[in-house]
Protein backbone atom coordinates (compact mmCIF):
# COMPACT_ATOMS: atom_id res chain seq x y z
CA UNK A 1 0.00 0.00 0.00
CA UNK A 2 1.49 3.35 -0.95
CA UNK A 3 -0.54 5.36 1.55
CA UNK A 4 1.31 6.57 4.60
CA UNK A 5 -0.62 9.37 6.32
CA UNK A 6 1.69 11.58 8.34
CA UNK A 7 0.67 12.69 11.82
CA UNK A 8 2.26 15.93 12.90
CA UNK A 9 3.40 15.78 16.54
CA UNK A 10 1.68 18.08 19.05
CA UNK A 11 3.97 20.08 21.28
CA UNK A 12 3.19 22.93 23.63
CA UNK A 13 4.16 25.41 20.93
CA UNK A 14 0.45 25.68 20.14
CA UNK A 15 0.10 28.12 23.05
CA UNK A 16 2.21 30.66 21.19
CA UNK A 17 0.70 30.18 17.75
CA UNK A 18 -1.73 33.03 18.24
CA UNK A 19 -2.42 35.66 20.99
CA UNK A 20 -5.81 34.07 21.69
CA UNK A 21 -4.15 30.93 23.03
CA UNK A 22 -1.85 32.94 25.29
CA UNK A 23 -4.86 34.83 26.61
CA UNK A 24 -6.63 31.53 27.21
CA UNK A 25 -3.69 30.10 29.16
CA UNK A 26 -3.46 33.29 31.23
CA UNK A 27 -7.17 32.99 31.98
CA UNK A 28 -6.76 29.37 33.01
CA UNK A 29 -3.58 30.19 34.97
CA UNK A 30 -5.51 32.77 36.91
CA UNK A 31 -7.29 29.96 38.71
CA UNK A 32 -4.07 29.26 40.62
CA UNK A 33 -4.23 32.70 42.17
CA UNK A 34 -7.96 32.55 42.73
CA UNK A 35 -7.51 29.16 44.36
CA UNK A 36 -4.62 30.51 46.37
CA UNK A 37 -6.73 33.39 47.60
CA UNK A 38 -9.49 31.02 48.60
CA UNK A 39 -6.94 29.04 50.63
CA UNK A 40 -5.85 32.27 52.24
CA UNK A 41 -9.47 32.90 53.28
CA UNK A 42 -9.64 29.43 54.84
CA UNK A 43 -6.42 30.07 56.75
CA UNK A 44 -7.85 33.40 57.90
CA UNK A 45 -10.99 31.68 59.19
CA UNK A 46 -8.85 29.21 61.08
CA UNK A 47 -6.80 31.99 62.68
CA UNK A 48 -10.04 33.77 63.62
CA UNK A 49 -11.24 30.67 65.38
CA UNK A 50 -7.99 30.49 67.32
CA UNK A 51 -8.64 33.76 69.13
CA UNK A 52 -7.68 37.47 68.95
CA UNK A 53 -3.91 36.96 69.14
CA UNK A 54 -3.82 34.55 66.21
CA UNK A 55 -6.12 36.86 64.28
CA UNK A 56 -3.93 39.90 64.93
CA UNK A 57 -0.78 38.09 63.79
CA UNK A 58 -2.65 36.97 60.66
CA UNK A 59 -3.61 40.57 59.88
CA UNK A 60 0.03 41.58 60.47
CA UNK A 61 1.26 38.93 58.06
CA UNK A 62 -1.15 40.22 55.46
CA UNK A 63 0.61 43.56 55.49
CA UNK A 64 3.98 42.15 54.53
CA UNK A 65 5.24 43.32 51.12
CA UNK A 66 5.09 39.78 49.71
CA UNK A 67 1.47 39.53 50.77
CA UNK A 68 0.61 42.92 49.25
CA UNK A 69 2.30 41.80 46.07
CA UNK A 70 0.32 38.56 46.04
CA UNK A 71 -2.94 40.43 46.62
CA UNK A 72 -2.32 42.84 43.76
CA UNK A 73 -1.53 40.03 41.35
CA UNK A 74 -4.46 37.93 42.60
CA UNK A 75 -6.84 40.88 42.23
CA UNK A 76 -5.64 41.51 38.69
CA UNK A 77 -6.09 37.86 37.73
CA UNK A 78 -9.47 37.75 39.45
CA UNK A 79 -10.69 40.78 37.58
CA UNK A 80 -9.36 39.34 34.32
CA UNK A 81 -11.05 36.03 35.00
CA UNK A 82 -14.36 37.67 35.96
CA UNK A 83 -14.42 40.09 33.05
CA UNK A 84 -13.59 37.40 30.47
CA UNK A 85 -16.17 35.13 32.09
CA UNK A 86 -18.95 37.72 32.15
CA UNK A 87 -18.25 38.70 28.55
CA UNK A 88 -18.63 35.07 27.51
CA UNK A 89 -21.95 34.53 29.28
CA UNK A 90 -24.12 35.75 26.37
CA UNK A 91 -22.81 32.83 24.29
CA UNK A 92 -23.91 30.31 26.90
CA UNK A 93 -27.21 31.99 27.79
CA UNK A 94 -28.91 33.39 24.71
CA UNK A 95 -32.30 34.92 25.51
CA UNK A 96 -34.79 35.22 22.68
CA UNK A 97 -37.49 37.85 23.02
CA UNK A 98 -39.93 37.66 20.12
CA UNK A 99 -37.82 36.99 17.07
CA UNK A 100 -34.62 38.69 18.11
CA UNK A 101 -32.06 37.76 20.73
CA UNK A 102 -31.20 40.17 23.54
CA UNK A 103 -27.98 41.99 22.73
CA UNK A 104 -24.80 40.57 24.29
CA UNK A 105 -24.40 43.72 26.36
CA UNK A 106 -27.68 43.09 28.17
CA UNK A 107 -26.74 39.56 29.28
CA UNK A 108 -23.19 40.47 30.25
CA UNK A 109 -24.46 43.70 31.80
CA UNK A 110 -26.89 41.79 33.98
CA UNK A 111 -23.97 39.77 35.35
CA UNK A 112 -21.95 42.88 36.07
CA UNK A 113 -24.97 44.44 37.77
CA UNK A 114 -25.50 41.34 39.90
CA UNK A 115 -21.80 41.39 40.81
CA UNK A 116 -21.94 45.02 41.89
CA UNK A 117 -25.18 44.44 43.76
CA UNK A 118 -23.85 41.42 45.63
CA UNK A 119 -20.62 43.22 46.47
CA UNK A 120 -22.49 46.21 47.91
CA UNK A 121 -24.73 43.84 49.85
CA UNK A 122 -21.73 42.01 51.34
CA UNK A 123 -19.93 45.21 52.24
CA UNK A 124 -23.08 46.51 53.93
CA UNK A 125 -23.39 43.27 55.92
CA UNK A 126 -19.75 43.70 56.92
CA UNK A 127 -20.66 47.10 58.29
CA UNK A 128 -18.65 49.15 55.83
CA UNK A 129 -21.56 51.62 55.54
Amino acid sequence: MSRRPYERPITSEWIFRHPRYVRYMVREFSCLFIGGYALLMVVGLERLSQGPAAWESFLQALQAPASIGFHIVALAFSLYHSVTWFNLTPKALPVQVGEEFLPDGVIAGAHYAAWVGLSIGLLWMAGVF
Binding site: R4, I10, I15, H18, R20, Y24, L88, A92
Partner: protein, 243 residues
Protein backbone atom coordinates in the same frame (compact mmCIF):
# COMPACT_ATOMS: atom_id res chain seq x y z
CA UNK B 1 5.45 39.03 -6.77
CA UNK B 2 4.70 37.12 -3.60
CA UNK B 3 6.39 34.07 -2.18
CA UNK B 4 4.41 31.08 -0.96
CA UNK B 5 6.09 28.41 1.11
CA UNK B 6 3.99 25.26 0.94
CA UNK B 7 4.30 22.11 3.04
CA UNK B 8 4.67 19.21 0.62
CA UNK B 9 4.43 15.51 1.36
CA UNK B 10 4.30 12.52 -0.93
CA UNK B 11 4.42 9.24 1.00
CA UNK B 12 5.94 7.49 -1.99
CA UNK B 13 8.94 9.79 -2.19
CA UNK B 14 9.20 11.57 1.19
CA UNK B 15 9.91 10.31 4.69
CA UNK B 16 8.67 13.57 6.14
CA UNK B 17 6.86 16.68 4.98
CA UNK B 18 9.10 19.52 3.73
CA UNK B 19 8.55 23.09 2.65
CA UNK B 20 8.77 24.16 -0.97
CA UNK B 21 8.76 27.77 -2.13
CA UNK B 22 7.08 29.30 -5.16
CA UNK B 23 6.92 32.84 -6.54
CA UNK B 24 3.49 33.95 -7.71
CA UNK B 25 2.15 37.24 -9.10
CA UNK B 26 0.42 39.31 -6.48
CA UNK B 27 -2.90 40.44 -7.96
CA UNK B 28 -5.12 42.78 -5.96
CA UNK B 29 -8.16 40.49 -6.01
CA UNK B 30 -6.35 37.18 -5.61
CA UNK B 31 -6.83 34.80 -2.75
CA UNK B 32 -4.41 32.06 -1.69
CA UNK B 33 -6.47 29.60 -3.73
CA UNK B 34 -5.82 31.62 -6.89
CA UNK B 35 -2.11 31.49 -6.08
CA UNK B 36 -2.28 27.70 -5.63
CA UNK B 37 -4.08 27.32 -8.95
CA UNK B 38 -1.44 29.49 -10.59
CA UNK B 39 1.28 27.26 -9.17
CA UNK B 40 -0.43 24.08 -10.31
CA UNK B 41 -1.08 25.40 -13.81
CA UNK B 42 2.23 27.09 -14.46
CA UNK B 43 4.91 25.97 -12.05
CA UNK B 44 4.22 22.58 -10.48
CA UNK B 45 1.35 20.30 -11.55
CA UNK B 46 2.20 17.81 -8.82
CA UNK B 47 0.78 20.01 -6.05
CA UNK B 48 -2.37 18.41 -4.56
CA UNK B 49 -5.09 20.26 -2.66
CA UNK B 50 -8.87 20.25 -2.38
CA UNK B 51 -11.08 23.03 -3.68
CA UNK B 52 -14.29 23.57 -5.55
CA UNK B 53 -16.70 26.47 -5.19
CA UNK B 54 -14.34 29.43 -4.61
CA UNK B 55 -17.13 31.14 -2.67
CA UNK B 56 -16.75 29.79 0.87
CA UNK B 57 -19.74 27.48 0.77
CA UNK B 58 -18.39 24.02 -0.06
CA UNK B 59 -15.85 23.86 2.77
CA UNK B 60 -13.16 22.04 0.76
CA UNK B 61 -10.21 24.42 0.94
CA UNK B 62 -9.45 24.73 4.64
CA UNK B 63 -5.72 25.05 5.34
CA UNK B 64 -3.23 26.68 7.72
CA UNK B 65 -2.15 30.00 6.28
CA UNK B 66 0.58 31.60 8.36
CA UNK B 67 -0.40 29.24 11.15
CA UNK B 68 -4.06 30.30 11.15
CA UNK B 69 -6.84 27.99 9.93
CA UNK B 70 -8.46 29.72 6.96
CA UNK B 71 -10.35 28.98 3.79
CA UNK B 72 -7.90 29.40 0.94
CA UNK B 73 -10.67 30.97 -1.15
CA UNK B 74 -11.18 33.70 1.40
CA UNK B 75 -7.60 34.49 2.36
CA UNK B 76 -6.68 37.53 0.31
CA UNK B 77 -3.03 37.89 -0.72
CA UNK B 78 -3.28 41.63 -0.12
CA UNK B 79 -3.77 40.96 3.62
CA UNK B 80 -0.37 39.33 3.99
CA UNK B 81 3.10 40.83 4.08
CA UNK B 82 6.16 38.89 3.09
CA UNK B 83 6.33 35.12 2.89
CA UNK B 84 3.01 33.24 3.11
CA UNK B 85 3.25 29.81 4.73
CA UNK B 86 0.65 27.31 3.58
CA UNK B 87 0.19 24.01 5.41
CA UNK B 88 -2.53 21.39 5.60
CA UNK B 89 -5.17 21.81 8.28
CA UNK B 90 -3.77 21.02 11.73
CA UNK B 91 -4.81 18.07 13.86
CA UNK B 92 -5.57 15.87 10.88
CA UNK B 93 -3.13 13.38 9.38
CA UNK B 94 -1.60 14.46 6.07
CA UNK B 95 -2.53 12.23 3.14
CA UNK B 96 -0.59 14.15 0.49
CA UNK B 97 0.58 17.78 0.28
CA UNK B 98 -2.33 19.92 1.47
CA UNK B 99 -4.83 17.05 1.54
CA UNK B 100 -5.71 15.70 4.99
CA UNK B 101 -7.41 12.52 6.18
CA UNK B 102 -10.81 13.55 7.53
CA UNK B 103 -12.25 10.13 8.37
CA UNK B 104 -12.39 11.01 12.07
CA UNK B 105 -14.46 14.11 11.42
CA UNK B 106 -16.90 12.25 9.14
CA UNK B 107 -17.38 9.55 11.76
CA UNK B 108 -18.07 12.13 14.46
CA UNK B 109 -20.63 13.95 12.33
CA UNK B 110 -22.51 10.69 12.00
CA UNK B 111 -22.30 9.89 15.67
CA UNK B 112 -24.38 12.83 16.83
CA UNK B 113 -27.38 11.74 14.72
CA UNK B 114 -27.60 14.95 12.74
CA UNK B 115 -31.04 14.45 11.25
CA UNK B 116 -34.58 15.26 12.20
CA UNK B 117 -36.09 12.94 14.78
CA UNK B 118 -39.60 14.34 14.64
CA UNK B 119 -41.91 15.04 17.51
CA UNK B 120 -45.04 14.02 15.65
CA UNK B 121 -44.78 12.26 12.35
CA UNK B 122 -46.87 14.08 9.77
CA UNK B 123 -48.10 12.76 6.45
CA UNK B 124 -46.75 14.60 3.43
CA UNK B 125 -50.31 15.35 2.33
CA UNK B 126 -50.83 17.32 5.54
CA UNK B 127 -48.22 19.78 4.34
CA UNK B 128 -45.30 21.37 6.11
CA UNK B 129 -44.67 21.52 9.84
CA UNK B 130 -45.42 25.03 11.05
CA UNK B 131 -42.35 26.92 12.19
CA UNK B 132 -42.42 30.61 12.98
CA UNK B 133 -39.57 32.92 11.99
CA UNK B 134 -38.68 33.12 15.69
CA UNK B 135 -38.43 29.33 15.96
CA UNK B 136 -36.32 29.25 12.79
CA UNK B 137 -33.99 31.83 14.25
CA UNK B 138 -33.39 29.68 17.31
CA UNK B 139 -31.33 27.22 15.32
CA UNK B 140 -30.62 28.91 12.00
CA UNK B 141 -27.14 30.08 12.92
CA UNK B 142 -26.03 26.54 13.85
CA UNK B 143 -27.25 25.18 10.52
CA UNK B 144 -24.77 27.32 8.58
CA UNK B 145 -21.77 25.06 9.16
CA UNK B 146 -19.99 24.21 5.90
CA UNK B 147 -17.98 21.37 7.49
CA UNK B 148 -14.69 23.09 6.71
CA UNK B 149 -13.04 21.85 9.93
CA UNK B 150 -11.21 25.11 10.65
CA UNK B 151 -12.63 24.80 14.16
CA UNK B 152 -11.00 21.39 14.64
CA UNK B 153 -7.68 22.85 13.53
CA UNK B 154 -8.04 25.74 15.95
CA UNK B 155 -9.16 23.68 18.94
CA UNK B 156 -6.28 22.75 21.25
CA UNK B 157 -8.49 20.21 23.04
CA UNK B 158 -8.99 18.30 19.81
CA UNK B 159 -5.30 18.54 19.13
CA UNK B 160 -4.39 17.12 22.53
CA UNK B 161 -7.32 14.73 22.92
CA UNK B 162 -8.23 13.28 19.52
CA UNK B 163 -11.23 11.43 20.99
CA UNK B 164 -12.98 14.75 21.62
CA UNK B 165 -16.03 14.87 19.42
CA UNK B 166 -15.27 18.46 18.45
CA UNK B 167 -16.94 21.82 17.81
CA UNK B 168 -18.69 21.28 14.48
CA UNK B 169 -20.22 17.96 15.49
CA UNK B 170 -21.60 19.42 18.72
CA UNK B 171 -22.86 22.55 16.98
CA UNK B 172 -24.65 20.39 14.44
CA UNK B 173 -26.27 18.30 17.18
CA UNK B 174 -27.30 21.54 18.88
CA UNK B 175 -28.82 22.72 15.58
CA UNK B 176 -31.14 19.75 15.61
CA UNK B 177 -31.85 19.98 19.34
CA UNK B 178 -32.94 23.57 18.89
CA UNK B 179 -35.18 22.86 15.89
CA UNK B 180 -38.81 23.14 17.02
CA UNK B 181 -39.77 20.17 14.84
CA UNK B 182 -37.26 17.87 16.53
CA UNK B 183 -37.59 15.65 19.60
CA UNK B 184 -34.29 13.82 19.45
CA UNK B 185 -32.33 15.49 22.23
CA UNK B 186 -32.41 12.38 24.37
CA UNK B 187 -31.07 10.23 21.57
CA UNK B 188 -28.21 12.61 20.95
CA UNK B 189 -27.43 12.90 24.63
CA UNK B 190 -25.19 9.85 24.76
CA UNK B 191 -22.73 11.25 22.25
CA UNK B 192 -23.00 14.82 23.50
CA UNK B 193 -22.93 14.47 27.25
CA UNK B 194 -20.16 11.91 27.21
CA UNK B 195 -16.70 12.64 28.52
CA UNK B 196 -15.43 13.08 24.98
CA UNK B 197 -18.51 15.10 24.21
CA UNK B 198 -19.25 18.66 25.24
CA UNK B 199 -17.52 18.24 28.62
CA UNK B 200 -14.10 18.00 27.02
CA UNK B 201 -14.46 21.63 26.01
CA UNK B 202 -12.76 24.18 28.27
CA UNK B 203 -14.16 27.17 26.38
CA UNK B 204 -10.99 28.29 24.64
CA UNK B 205 -13.31 29.85 22.07
CA UNK B 206 -10.83 29.57 19.20
CA UNK B 207 -13.36 27.60 17.17
CA UNK B 208 -15.82 30.47 17.05
CA UNK B 209 -13.06 32.94 16.25
CA UNK B 210 -11.94 31.08 13.14
CA UNK B 211 -15.36 29.97 11.90
CA UNK B 212 -15.94 31.59 8.48
CA UNK B 213 -19.72 31.26 8.79
CA UNK B 214 -20.10 32.71 12.30
CA UNK B 215 -21.78 29.55 13.52
CA UNK B 216 -20.37 30.13 17.02
CA UNK B 217 -19.73 26.49 17.94
CA UNK B 218 -18.30 27.60 21.29
CA UNK B 219 -21.63 29.11 22.22
CA UNK B 220 -23.43 25.99 21.05
CA UNK B 221 -21.18 23.79 23.20
CA UNK B 222 -21.76 25.83 26.37
CA UNK B 223 -25.51 25.76 25.71
CA UNK B 224 -25.30 22.00 25.31
CA UNK B 225 -23.46 21.77 28.64
CA UNK B 226 -26.15 23.77 30.42
CA UNK B 227 -28.95 21.87 28.76
CA UNK B 228 -27.50 18.44 29.56
CA UNK B 229 -26.89 19.47 33.16
CA UNK B 230 -30.50 20.57 33.54
CA UNK B 231 -31.60 17.35 31.86
CA UNK B 232 -29.47 15.28 34.23
CA UNK B 233 -30.90 16.97 37.32
CA UNK B 234 -34.44 16.64 36.05
CA UNK B 235 -33.91 12.99 35.26
CA UNK B 236 -32.39 12.14 38.62
CA UNK B 237 -34.15 14.49 41.02
CA UNK B 238 -37.50 14.95 39.33
CA UNK B 239 -38.03 11.85 37.22
CA UNK B 240 -41.75 12.40 37.20
CA UNK B 241 -41.29 15.48 35.05
CA UNK B 242 -41.51 14.86 31.30
CA UNK B 243 -38.32 15.87 29.55
Amino acid sequence: MTELSILRYNPETDDQPRFQSYEVPCREDWVVLDALNYIKENLDPTLSYRWSCHMAVCGSCGMMINQEPKLACKAFLRDYQGLIRVEPLRHFPIERDLVTVIDDFMAKLSRVRPYLIPKDVKALEAGEYRQTPAELKRFKQYSMCINCMLCYAACPEYGLIPKYIGPAAIALAHRWNQDSRDAGREERQEALAAKEGAWECSFVGACSEVCPEHVDPAGAIQQVKIRSTVDWYQEHLMPWLKK
